[in-house]
């Protein structure tokens, strides 16, 4: 753990150095060049999210640079970028996707170095940036319970409580065998609690559904008393329903979204400027108030009161892109 923290700190320092070395005058040149480019084409896998739009609007208002955004699912974005680049159609500038897909695309050679971002120096551990990728926002996964069906005090306190007999046949879950929150849950808890935990959990017969936004409502309507892993950021939209968020004592699971400049981007300066804007405290605050963990310092303490307590809880872990396929195969074996 200490090694990872030190490595992260070293990376941040390495990144901060050129950015710090980059004088205001140099950055001002980037800003002017970006304004001359006048446009940014932004591909995001954050479908239906109003938050990146808020950030986009403030960017457009501040710099007068128009942002054209295209939303699609992670794999669709990846394939679109791949085929565009293979065909020599370099249309998009900036890519916004989950860390796993971004890592895979980096292996495909889809990105170019961003060239230094001043606000990268504010990124806080455990999140890391390198010369290609910068974290932008973090989605956390927790447990959602129906308040009417689960009495106060009866809620699970730990991820391990999900294997208690009282929840058998009564849990709705995101599919552990597919990419997404379910896979994150499987990978992290498999590492932490081992195979036996998942054998017992599979015996509980959780009902899998990938229709995430309907799952929270199914839980609220009382179809199931418990749903996991629930995207914390959705809570602000349903908090008036009879549901309650439970953050297990081991911590939240999380998935990081990254920003990266696409290879041969037609508007590379606008892309850099947008990344810098995304890492501004005001932009990060938009995400934090919605329940996403911010990636830069000085945001959690300024976030809304009802979210601050959730964001301050510890993060348990996330997936390792290199082991994703192995984990998916394991999940398929355990959850038939």
């Amino acid at each position: 753990m200490l090694k990872r923290v030190l490595a992260a700190a070293a990376t941040i320092l390495a990144l901060a150095a050129p950015a710090a070395g980059q004088t205001d005058a140099e950055w001002q040149k980037v800003v002017e060049a970006a304004k001359k480019e006048g446009k940014l084409v932004f591909y995001t896998a954050s479908i239906g999210s109003p938050f990146y739009k808020d950030v986009t609007r403030s960017f457009e208002a501040k710099y007068g640079i128009r942002v054209e955004a295209l939303e699609a699912r992670a794999s669709e974005i990846r394939e679109r970028v791949r085929i565009e680049q293979a065909a020599g159609r370099f249309i998009a500038d900036l890519h916004h996707n989950g860390a796993t897909t971004t890592w895979l695309m980096q292996q495909d050679g889809a990105f170019q170095p961003h060239g230094g971002i001043p606000n990268a120096r504010n990124i806080m551990p455990p999140y890391e940036a390198d010369e290609i990728r910068l974290p932008s926002d973090v989605t956390s996964f927790v447990i959602l319970v129906n308040r009417a069906m689960v009495k106060a005090g009866d809620e699970p306190k730990s991820w391990k409580d999900l294997i208690a007999p009282k929840w058998a046949g009564r849990m709705l879950a995101d599919d552990t065998r597919a990419l997404g929150g379910g896979a994150v849950f499987f990978a992290v808890t498999y590492e932490a609690f081992g195979k036996e935990y998942h054998e017992k959990l599979a015996a509980q017969k959780p009902v899998f559904s990938r229709d995430l936004r309907n799952n929270e409502r199914r839980t609220a309507r009382g179809e199931y008393p418990l749903y996991f892993p629930f995207v914390l950021a959705y809570y602000t939209q349903i908090k008036t329903l009879p549901v309650k968020v439970v953050i297990p004592q081991e911590g939240r699971l999380y998935v990081r979204f990254d920003l990266a400049v696409l290879k041969n981007a037609p508007h590379p300066n606008a892309a850099r400027l947008f990344i810098n804007h995304f890492l501004e405290v005001e932009s990060q605050l938009v995400y934090a108030n919605a329940g996403y963990s911010p990636v830069v310092k000085g945001v959690v303490e300024r976030s809304s009161e009802d979210m601050r307590s959730f964001l301050a809880t510890k993060a348990m872990g996330t997936t390792v892109p290199q082991r994703q396929n192995e984990m998916l195969d394991l999940a398929k074996q355990l959850y038939k």
């Binding site: 084409v41 479908i47 239906g48 999210s49 109003p50 054209e68 955004a69 295209l70 939303e71 699609a72 699912r73 992670a74 794999s75 669709e76 990846r78 394939e79 679109r80 791949r82 085929i83 565009e84 680049q85 293979a86 065909a87 020599g88 159609r89 249309i91 796993t100 897909t101 895979l104 495909d108 599919d175 065998r177 597919a178 990419l179 009902v207 899998f208 559904s209 990938r210 229709d211 995430l212 936004r213 309907n214 409502r217 199914r218 609220a220 309507r221 009382g222 179809e223 959705y234 939209q237 349903i238 008036t240 329903l241 892109p321 994703q324 396929n325 998916l328 038939k336």
Partner: protein, 588 residues
């Protein structure tokens, strides 16, 4: 004969009775210039729309990496198909689709007969009501049925428990039955739209002859009415069966949670649920599905080959209406029951939910008009609506024109190459939409930079035309099959050109079917997601993409509002269409 007619008036400009003159002249010029040239042009268009993206996919199925990436040719994708798990998936898919198609066909024929051939009260209204479910986005009805038919807390089961005191639920939509039932809500009106006009376009003299020869009403129905409708019913059966195999929403919503897997959910998992999308396996599976479809279509050709189904002749006729007496109230009740089960219940649930803050929470303090306001003020929605209308009207019209030409060539001529044209027009329907969407993406992106299709509205338009053509061809060729050759020959003898005959005789007589095809294609375009999500570009969003964004953005209530808005649009379209058909038929 056709060639003779074309040669008779070589230099005359064509007036295709309402077709834009320049387009008609240009296309007619192609055919006038010689049949081979016209056929070659048609094959080139269809080839570009179907063979080209399919070729890309075929490459993908044989290559370890998708186009543009280094890899090697192998059969790994196909080899991976031969597993016991895939056999179960295949059996599930075929079984579910067959059962739902058979049930839907029986129900659709009954409903079409009631509407077209009996004196059941309010038949015009019933016709509109019966077709409504087809036009409601499946994700909305799936959500509504999730609330209605859930074993634990579903409204129907709660009402059942309250009425009977029994604890056992009477319905559980998360089952094979639930998947089939949800699919039937779409396939029944789909088949109904096909067969209802065929019932109308039938010369009653044939049935009367049967009755005169002392056949019973039942014998007449099976030996004359049903037999004459074989082209339509088999076309509808096969199209519906194929749609069943390609259905995604119903199995993913009601099947996946209880372990029922079908081919489309498997393909979706191969593309979206792996850290590395398995395009080779997904496309190989897509081609395996295609072989299955091809066998079906060949079976249909063999079944219908060499038989005559002409019912519309040069002689005047009016459809025979059976007087049912008091039994007409039973037939009326059957139609209303279908409407209640497929529209009133789920749409009522949607309508109710659209006025509450959250779907399924009916507390007075949650009453709101916020979702209607949200949609009204949503600029992205209106922009997508404008794009969709443009693509819908343009795409449906172009598709029907192409479909009418293809249907003419394949059903009314003996030209060499017509079978190839039929196959080319069928191809896009045989490949699951989510795989074909990838083929279009690869195909359009790989075009030379000088051909500006990729990233424009043209990409969407061409994909929609390709995806809609099979329906357009089936609808129009079924209608053509019922029209006697002598009317067409009479037109030629009187000096009409090929185009004039096509437009003024065949299209004019097949007009009701043409209108149905147009509506089916138009609303198909409004719903197409698999191709749209891959081909749209910033600024060219369409309604299906915006609805997906709203759904994943946690706004199912606003999606319901759009669904209801689409329903109103359907009602208007259907009303206008039926009025026009009525006027047209009365003037024929």
């Amino acid at each position: 004969m056709e060639q003779a007619a074309l040669q008779r008036r070589p230099g005359v400009a064509v007036d295709a009775g309402g077709l834009p003159r320049r387009l008609a002249t240009a296309v007619a010029g192609l055919f006038r210039g010689g049949r081979p040239l016209g056929l070659a042009a048609l094959i080139a268009v269809l080839g570009f729309l179907s063979l080209y993206p399919m070729g890309m996919l075929f490459y993908g199925s044989l290559h370890s990496a998708p186009p543009g990436l280094a890899g090697e040719y192998n059969l790994d994708g196909y080899a991976a198909l031969a597993t016991a798990e895939n056999l179960i998936v295949l059996a599930n898919t075929v079984g579910i689709s067959f059962v739902k198609t058979a049930l839907s066909l029986a129900l659709a024929i009954l409903l079409a007969w009631i509407v077209a051939r009996t004196d059941t009260p309010a038949r015009g209204t019933l016709e509109v009501l019966i077709t409504l479910p087809f036009f409601i986005p499946p994700i909305l009805t799936a959500t509504a049925w999730g609330m209605l038919g859930n074993a634990q807390v579903g409204t129907i089961n709660l009402a059942w428990r309250w009425l009977t005191g029994l604890e056992t639920p009477i319905i559980d939509v998360f089952s094979y039955g639930g998947v089939i039932w949800h699919m039937m809500q779409y396939s029944t009106p789909f088949i109904f739209l096909f067969v209802v006009d065929a019932f109308r376009a039938m010369d009653p003299a044939l049935e009367e002859s049967s009755r005169m020869s002392r056949a019973t009403r039942s014998q007449t129905f099976w030996r004359i009415t049903f037999a004459l409708m074989l082209p339509v019913t088999t076309s509808a059966f096969i199209l519906s069966f194929i749609r069943g195999i390609e259905a995604f929403e119903s199995p993913v919503f009601f099947g996946t949670p209880v372990g029922i897997e079908v081919l489309t959910t498997k393909i979706y998992a191969l593309i979206n649920h792996q850290s590395q999308p398995q395009y080779q396996s997904a496309t190989a599976l897509g081609f395996a599905v295609m072989v299955l479809m091809f066998l079906l279509v060949t079976w249909q050709w063999r079944l219908l080959g060499g038989r005559s189904f002409t019912t519309v002749t040069g002689k005047g006729y009016s459809p025979n209406v059976t007087q049912l007496g008091w039994k007409r109230w039973i037939t009326f009740a059957i139609c209303i029951a279908f409407f209640i089960a497929t529209v009133a219940l789920p749409v009522g649930q949607l309508l109710l939910s659209s006025f509450f803050q959250f779907f399924g929470f009916y507390q007075l303090d949650m009453l709101t008009l916020e979702h209607y306001r949200g949609v009204w003020h949503n600029r992205e929605f209106w922009s997508a609506f404008a794009n969709t209308m443009l693509l819908g009207v343009g795409g449906a019209s172009a598709t029907m024109v192409l479909g009418a030409i293809v249907a003419y060539v394949t059903t009314r001529t003996r030209w060499q190459g017509r079978r190839l044209i039929d196959v080319l027009a069928w191809l896009p329907w045989m490949m699951p939409g989510m795989v074909l969407g990838i083929g279009f993406l690869w195909g359009f992106a790989m075009l030379p930079a000088g051909i500006p299709i990729y990233g424009t509205l043209w990409a969407l338009l061409l994909a929609y035309i390709a995806l809609g053509t099979p329906v357009a061809v089936r609808v129009t060729s079924s209608a053509y099959a019922q029209i006697s050759n002598d009317i067409e020959e009479c037109s030629r003898v009187h000096g009409a050109s090929w185009w004039q005959t096509l437009w003024r005789i065949l299209v004019a007589l097949a007009w009701p079917a043409f209108a149905v095809g147009w509506v089916l294609t138009f609303f198909g375009i409004m719903r197409k997601l698999s191709a749209s999500i891959l081909l749209y570009s910033p600024g060219s969003e369409v309604l299906s993409v915006v609805m997906l964004k709203m759904w994943t953005g946690g706004k199912p209530e606003e999606v319901s509002v759009i669904g209801l808005f689409m329903l109103v649009l359907v009602l208007v379209f259907r009303w206008v269409q039926l009025r026009l058909i009525k006027t047209r038929i009365s003037t024929l």
